[in-house]
Structures are given as structure tokens and as C-alpha cells.
Amino acid sequence: MNNITDQKHIMLRVEEKYVENQTHATLFFNHALSFKPGQFIMVWIPGVDEKPYTISLHSKERFAITIEAKGIFSKKAIALNKGDLLGIRGPFGNGFDIKSEGKKAVVAGGCGMAPLAPLVEKLDKNTIFIHGARTKDHILYPDRFDMERLFCTDDGSFGHKGLVTDLLEEQITSGKHFDMVYTCGPEIMMYNVFKICETYNIPCQVSLERYMRCGFGVCGACVCGKQVVCKDGPVFGSVALREMKDFNTKALLKSGKDVALSQYFSWRCK
């Protein structure tokens, strides 16, 4: 049975806010959270809404979430300041399966960096870390890690001009051997990372996003094929992904209607 007492909602005040760039900010909380990289919490702004956010920084007494201003909720969240009150439930979900052995690659796209950051900090220093963003300004936590990062941007303002998948494939074809690839970012990007991994026979873990309500696997809002994203995921490995016909194709709207992923994301970003 789960430890349910850890998953009741608690109220916290924002301890510190760090503006990452024009569209991203990180909110810090002084609270000890039992947590595994890749897990998420439900964040409630009283009177506004409640949404899932991954933990982007974690230590014994402290944790943080990083917010990208996109929709109504995230624009309110990014405007919060030190002392503001919000509620959290969780952490929920499975988190990444952290392998101690073998050579790893981490592939982050945009805000997909957030769940990967605490993971990267648990991996060994020779992990290959590929990080893509729209522009140089959108690269999150530029100075946070002490391992080498390979960068790419959509506009070429920093690093390679192009996609993270270009860089991953380049690493593989240049002779690097990987035993595990971890990825988070836009679903199309993760799907392409998964496909590359399948081609070269590398196990892969991706972190999926779907509209969520309960966060603990009962309401069914986030089902993706046979998987319940909030409970079985959000991290799924190659075996589950191979059978997941909704991966990169379909998602449920708030009403439960299943639609093409493009329609889902245009609704989510409102």
C-alpha cells in the first residue's frame, strides 16, 4: 500500500523566486519532500486551479518547481512572489529508473529540462547531456551542472542550430555506446529520441505529459493506451512505449474526448 499520509495536500509559502528568463521562473520552497527524480506534485493556487509540476531541484530541506508561462495557470504561477501561499499534493508517479551501471545519455528539450535536472545530478560525470531550446535565452540552468553539455537551439543562437535528435544520433554514429537514454521534452521530440534508440537497440526512458486530475491513478483523465500516466508513469521505458499506441498520436481532452496530439497541445497551451 502507498504511504497515503504523504499525499494529502499541504500549504507552503514561496521562499524564493528566481527568474530564469522571460518565460521561465523557478519557485523555491523550504520543505522536506521524499522524492525521486521524475516524480511530480499537484500544485494548487487557491482560487485559480491545480496543475501537475515536476520537481526541478531537490535537497534535504528544500525543493523547487520551474514554471513556463504558457496558459492561464502558469501565467499566474510565474507571477507569484516570496511569501505567496500555494498548496501541494504528492509527490506522485514512478520517477526515473536510475541505473548505476553503464554509459548514459540525457536528452532535454525546452522545459523538459526540469524533471531531468535532479536526475542528471544523480548520474555519473561522464554522462552525455544534450540540451535543446528555442534560443540561447531559453536554455534553463546554464550554470548548474558540472558536466559537459551539448547545446542546440532552433535559431542557432547557441550551440548547434537544429534538433537534439541530430546531436544524439551524431554521438551514436561517431561510435559512442549508450546503455540508457533518458529524455523529456515535446512529445514529438521524445518520440524521435525513442525511435533512434530503437534503431540502435538502446533502452530509453521518457517522461510523458497528459491532462491530470487526481494524480494517483483513479480518475482516468490521463490514460494513454493501457497506461495511467500519473500512476504508472509519468516515466515509461521502451517496453511500455512499444505497446503504447497513443504515444505521439493521441491524448484526452478535459471532457475525456480523444483527439490528435496536435489538437491536445493547442488546447493545453491556452
Binding site: N2, T5, K8, D49, L85, G87, R213, C214, K226
Partner: protein
């Protein structure tokens, strides 16, 4: 532990409660594969409906409170799902709701053409302004909606009742008189409310919501007991059932099948096979059969 229910053979008496998981063929199939004898779709409404804003579901430790608010694509917007469900190899209850007798009838007629094994009418949801519970607390409206739906469908009809009825036995009898083939009880209890004292605000966006989980089990047991006394049709008993002993208890109150909802949270998606196994063990240890204990708590002395 096969059991016959309204002419269908089920592999066991476990039922997935409406509103839990039930959002697609694939997840319903997984629930079935995890030992559930009969699965229920999320309630289908007359028009597209998003449900309420979050927070919609909160765990209280001893149960949950929810006001998801009947989200539904609307009965005319589910073609993909119906296509998948036509090919199913598991028994299915399609749950429906409406805002008027006419709407219930409209949805029911269409859904019946998609050939679920059973239709359940939800006249008991506490989480919507105009749907559900308002029908289930009144004798006349319960009777009206059941007889109207019964006229337009050709699969057996289950009616899901609310514990908020003044006398749930009377409501059940009115439904039976109107042609219901089975009763499902209970829907969530309440509505209740949880206020966060730091923000001084109700936590649920809809402010109030229905209670479920272990804390409501005594209410469910009492309701099923009252219904069993009042009607001759079978009862799907649910409300806070999470173990084999809970299941035995509600069967002794009068249930023929046992629904599971919130316990998916506490014991995982395979709760159905766990509870079935625990029931079998208990029955074997007491040298009893399932049939022998249905309504066993009604004997005098």
C-alpha cells in the same frame, strides 16, 4: 468464482465503479485483465462537458472527496471509443446521465444501439448543478426517468442510487416498479466540504464534493441492507469496499455483485483480483458459497 447476473455469466462478482479509470476501451480492458468481472464506463452525458476545474479529487487519508463534475465528450462524440468497444471481449456497463428525463432517454436510446451488456443510469451524482442526484432523491422523478429509459433500450437497466435519499429502500422500489433490472448503490456520500484554513478557501474548485473510500462503508452497508429488504432485483453493492472481508460484509447486507472504486487508489489496479482471492479464502475457510451469504445478515435471531 463465476456468477450469473441478469443472464450474463461473469468471471467473478467484482465490478469497476463508474467514474474510476473508465475513460477508454484500453484501460477498461486492463481493469478486466486485472481480475474485474464487469467494468463500467465513465458516465456519458447529452453534450460535451469539461467537468470542474481542479482541484477535483483530494485524498483525505481515510477516503477521498471529489467533484470531478461529470466530464463527458457527449454521447455523439465518442465514435473512436465505440468502435474499440464493439470489439471488446469483456462485459461492459455503459453509465449515462442527463439533465432531464428527455435527455436521459435520448442518451440511453443511442447508447443502447452501441450494445453494451448493461446500461446504468446515474441518478445520484452530487457534483453537478442540474444532473443526477436531483432525480435520485425523489420517488416520482426516479420512477419517471427509469420508465422513460426502459422504453427505449434493449439491454438490462441498472439504476445507481444516492445515499442522500430520505429512504433509499422506497426509491429502489420505485425504480423496480418502473422496470429497473438491478440497483447499484451507493454513489458518493454528501456532498461534503474541506476548507483550507491557511487560504481560508474550500479546497475543491466546486467547493463541495462526494465522499468515497473506507469512511463511507457503513453508509453503503446500511443502504444495501435497506434496498435488499425493499426489492427483489439484484443489487451491485459498493461504497468503501477495499478488502475481501468488506466485500463479504456488503454481500451479507444483500449485494449480489461488489463494486470497487476508491480502493484502486489504496491497493492498485489489481485490487479486483486481490479482493476476489480474499473472498474465496474467507468463503472456503467458512465452508460457505457466495450464493449462501447474499443477504445473510437479514435473518432474525
Amino acid at each position: 468464482m463465476t456468477i450469473q447476473f441478469l443472464g450474463k455469466i461473469l468471471k467473478n462478482p467484482m465490478v469497476l465503479a463508474s467514474g474510476i479509470l473508465g475513460n477508454s476501451h484500453d484501460i477498461l480492458e486492463r481493469v478486466y485483465e486485472n481480475g474485474c468481472g464487469l467494468v463500467t464506463m465513465k458516465s456519458i452525458g447529452p453534450e460535451p462537458r469539461d467537468g470542474h476545474k481542479n482541484p477535483t479529487v483530494i485524498d483525505l487519508g481515510h477516503g477521498m472527496i471529489n467533484a470531478v463534475g461529470l466530464p463527458s465528450p457527449g454521447y455523439l462524440n465518442m465514435e473512436n471509443e465505440w468502435k474499440d468497444l464493439e470489439k471488446r471481449d469483456f462485459p461492459l456497463i455503459a453509465s449515462i446521465y442527463g439533465g432531464s428525463v428527455r435527455e436521459y432517454q435520448m442518451v440511453a436510446e443511442f447508447v443502447s444501439s452501441k450494445k453494451p451488456d448493461f446500461i446504468e443510469i446515474n441518478i445520484s451524482c452530487p457534483n453537478s448543478e442540474k444532473h443526477g442526484m436531483i432525480f435520485g432523491v425523489n420517488l416520482q422523478s426516479s420512477h419517471d426517468v427509469v420508465s422513460a429509459v426502459k422504453k427505449v433500450i434493449n439491454v438490462p437497466l441498472i439504476v445507481k442510487l444516492t445515499p442522500q435519499a430520505l429512504d433509499i429502500g422506497d426509491i429502489a422500489r420505485a425504480c423496480e416498479d418502473a422496470g429497473a433490472n438491478a440497483i447499484c448503490a451507493i454513489n458518493t456520500v454528501g456532498p461534503g466540504m474541506v476548507i483550507d484554513i491557511e487560504s481560508k478557501m474550500p479546497v475543491l474548485a466546486f467547493k463541495k464534493g462526494g465522499l468515497s473510500g473506507p469512511m463511507i462503508k457503513p453508509v453503503a452497508i446500511r443502504c444495501v441492507f435497506d434496498i435488499y429488504k425493499a426489492v427483489n432485483i439484484p443489487i451491485i453493492g459498493l461504497g468503501g469496499i477495499s478488502t475481501g472481508k468488506d466485500a463479504i460484509e456488503i454481500i451479507m447486507a444483500g449485494a449480489s455483485l461488489v463494486g470497487i472504486g476508491s480502493a484502486v487508489r489504496y491497493r492498485g489496479i489489481d485490487v479486483f483480483q486481490k479482493v476476489t482471492l480474499e473472498m474465496e479464502t474467507w468463503l472456503k475457510g467458512h465452508d460457505l458459497s457466495m450464493e449462501e451469504i447474499i443477504g445473510a445478515a437479514h435473518r432474525e435471531g
